[in-house]
């Protein structure tokens, strides 16, 4: 208490107020029971017309759009009725994403890079979304949408070069691993500052609209960063200008160690935030690839036909740590992931394909082996270009390039200083003979 200050408490006989701090249901060692998570039956959610008034989607902001039922069949008005080939391809990219994550996670543990972030359990949110979008729709991603790059056929070797910050990393070793940029694949450069991409996506969508373009924009943030001011700026701008944009909140329940209650999840759903802005909103089972596809397709069609923006909450679960620097066993029950009532997205899609006679366990095992080999081969290819800290990096002077379009005098001087320091430290060093 400040010097000389008396107690701040006042109020005579009035009852004392209580300070409330949210607390997750389970902590390490606790038994897990997700009975409080309402899982409505698949197929029971109405599908309004894509041109409907935003307010007509209000019930869907509290419901959960689901397509795959307990018998692994696709059911209800949101069933996107995808053919077997498309479903298999979607399954393959989801499995590839998981295989990629597993390999890169190991690479980080082997010291080949500093950091990695998996999206285990959330593969459907990115991959099925990518399948529902046009390949040139602009994506403003967060760091857990690697599935979109893989779905769009971005070369895995390029991704690994970026993760290893090696001499072939086209971002010149400047970005943290997994913070890709892929302009040719309509994939915006990833920021570590959270939710900043949301108003940017709206701006891109406005530019597209003002130019009479046909491409829409979409963006992804986590449940935690929906508490940022940028989220609300984006929602306001998107509705004010009826922007052709799809804004996604991937509610994976955890923001590092903060559960979704710290972003307001105890009071309402994230999708329901759309209602106050007059925006269409959908809450979707994020572990149901068909539901994710259907929701994104609905929102994309709505945006493309100038009926305005949509906020989608993907209700899912982060089955792994936040990143390789995180230890989830320190703050949540180890049983949570397996007890998650909406299952695993890859397993659910696989069982659906098997149930409709389009797939088999044997085929799946074969595919998993092939994908593991594919990732391994890409990793070996990328490693030829070096791994983090092993010397094979971009030429030294690139550190000073691209701060501005042209190198100003003060950076030129600082670059000369940096090179001088390097020569003192390693007298035989030459810029281009590393």
């Amino acid at each position: 208490m400040a010097k000389g200050r008396k107690s701040l408490a006042r109020g005579g006989n009035r009852p004392p107020l209580e300070f409330y701090v949210p607390e997750p249901k389970f902590r390490p060692g606790d038994p897990v029971d997700f009975v409080h998570v309402q899982v409505p039956p698949a197929g029971a959610q109405p599908r309004p017309d894509e041109s409907c008034a935003a307010v007509d989607t209000s019930p869907l902001c509290y419901d959960l759009v689901r397509v795959l039922d307990d018998e692994h069949q696709a059911t209800g008005p949101w069933n996107p009725r995808l053919d077997g080939e498309t479903l298999r391809e979607m399954l393959r990219v989801m499995a590839l994403t998981r295989a990629f994550d597993d390999r890169m996670y190991r690479g980080q543990r082997q010291g080949k890079t500093s950091f990695y972030m998996k999206c285990t359990g959330e593969e459907a949110t990115s991959v099925a979304s990518a399948f529902a979008l046009a390949s040139d729709d602009m994506v403003f991603p967060s760091y857990r949408q690697q599935g979109i790059l893989l779905a769009r056929g971005y070369p895995m070797v390029e991704m690994i070069n970026q993760i290893y910050s090696n001499r072939a990393d086209h971002l010149k070793g400047r970005q943290l691993p997994i913070m890709y940029s892929a302009r040719d694949y309509s994939f915006f450069t990833i920021s570590g500052n959270l939710a900043t991409q949301f108003p940017q996506a709206v701006g891109w969508a406005l530019a597209s609209a003002s130019k009479g373009d046909s491409r829409i924009a979409t963006s992804f943030i986590g449940d935690g960063s929906s508490a940022e001011g940028d989220f609300h700026a984006a929602m306001t701008f998107a509705t004010v200008y009826n922007a052709p944009v799809v804004l996604n909140i991937v509610n994976n329940q955890w923001a590092i160690s903060s559960f979704s209650g710290f972003a307001g999840a105890e009071r309402t759903t994230f999708a329901a935030r759309a209602i106050g802005y007059g925006m269409a909103g959908l809450r979707v089972d994020g572990n149901d690839a068909l539901a994710v596809y259907a929701a994104m397709q609905w929102a994309a069609n709505r945006a493309r036909s100038n009926h305005g923006p949509t906020l989608i909450e993907h209700f899912t679960y982060r089955a792994e740590g936040h990143s390789t620097s995180d230890d989830p066993s320190q703050y949540r029950s180890a049983r949570e992931a397996e007890a998650w009532p909406l299952g695993d997205p890859i397993t659910r899609l696989k069982k659906h394909l098997i149930a409709i006679g389009e797939w088999s366990e044997e085929q799946h095992e074969t595919m998993d082996r092939e994908l593991a080999e594919q990732v391994k081969a890409a990793t070996k290819e990328a490693e030829k270009n070096g791994v983090l800290g092993h010397g094979l990096h971009h030429p030294f002077h690139t550190m000073f390039e691209d701060v501005y379009e042209e190198l100003p005098w003060h950076l030129e001087e600082q670059a000369e200083q940096a090179i001088r320091e390097r020569r003192i430290k390693w007298p035989t060093w030459k810029e281009y003979e590393q």
Binding site: M138, F140, H170, L171, K172, R174, Q175, M179, S181, A182, R183, F188, T189, S191, N193, T196, F198, P199, Q200, A201, V202, G203, W204, A205, L206, A207, S208, S210, K211, A217, G229, D230, A233, A234, T236, F237, V240, D402, V403, Y404, E405, P408, W409, H410
Partner: protein, 335 residues
Amino acid sequence: MNMIEAINDALDIMMGRDPDVVIMGEDVGYFGGVFRATAGLQKKYGKNRVFDTPINECGIIGAAVGMAAYGLRPVPEIQFADYIYPGYDQLVSEAARLRYRSANEFIAPITVRSPFGGGIFGGQTHSQSPEALFTHVAGLKVVIPSTPHDAKGLLIAAIEDNDPVIFFEPKRIYNGPFDGYYDKPAKPWSQHPDSAVPEGYYSIPLGKARVVREGEAMTVLAYGTMVHVAAAVCADKGVDAEIIDLRTLVPIDIETVEKSVEKTGRVMVVHEATRTSGFGAELVALVQERCFYHLEAPIERVTGFDTPYPHSLEWAYFPGPVRIGEAIDRLLGAD
């Protein structure tokens, strides 16, 4: 032409030349901006290219970043520099670094216009000079004009520039130059010898200072309103000062500064912003590092005080003739 008209002219010319230039901000459309800098532009170019925004600086700058990523050249207006902070993260963490972090895949050719500085009884929320918060950020350019002629030429250059530019407009001199004597009648730009603004397109390169007047006794480094105040005080005191209007703080024209200091040996740095860690500190450091053996006296730093801008006492805060005069005396008295 006054500075507002010059800015309006620059915007008009650039919108006419480049269909990708768009203007956005609070009240900039139908109304033409609270200072009228965008007057008539919506009517001429349509709402697609000149539009009002919500009161949300984070949204304004964030959307501008996305528009720039699409390929437009947004010129957002922040109504007062004091309100730029909600958009600060989008400027310093996003716009400033897009080119670097994406290795040139995405760039942010945005020109953020914002009236700044005091002297209009704007109180603490309409008077700040936050330029140093931006000069500290790698990837941003900071430009501050001091005449209508420069405002037009520099703004055109800023809009054409492929890097994000913070363009601070000294609102005290929007309508006329200001000599620091607040209790005397203000003069309009039309009576100022430097007020002639050429018609049509011209640009003034960023990173190039203007030698306002040549002199031998001392070098004055200033920008914006303070160029006029410092020049008036030097003239009143009969000091043969070389007055340098920096025009661009980043990148700064170090050659012009060095050349002048080597000639005069005495330096006074003047700005209106608060003193501690202000841009003046950077100027003093640069001169000390690069011109130390030419200096014949300690460098003088004349600034605002380290307080918020006080409404009723704004002229006590303002670095006016007395504060500048004392600094000149110290500078010239020290042998």
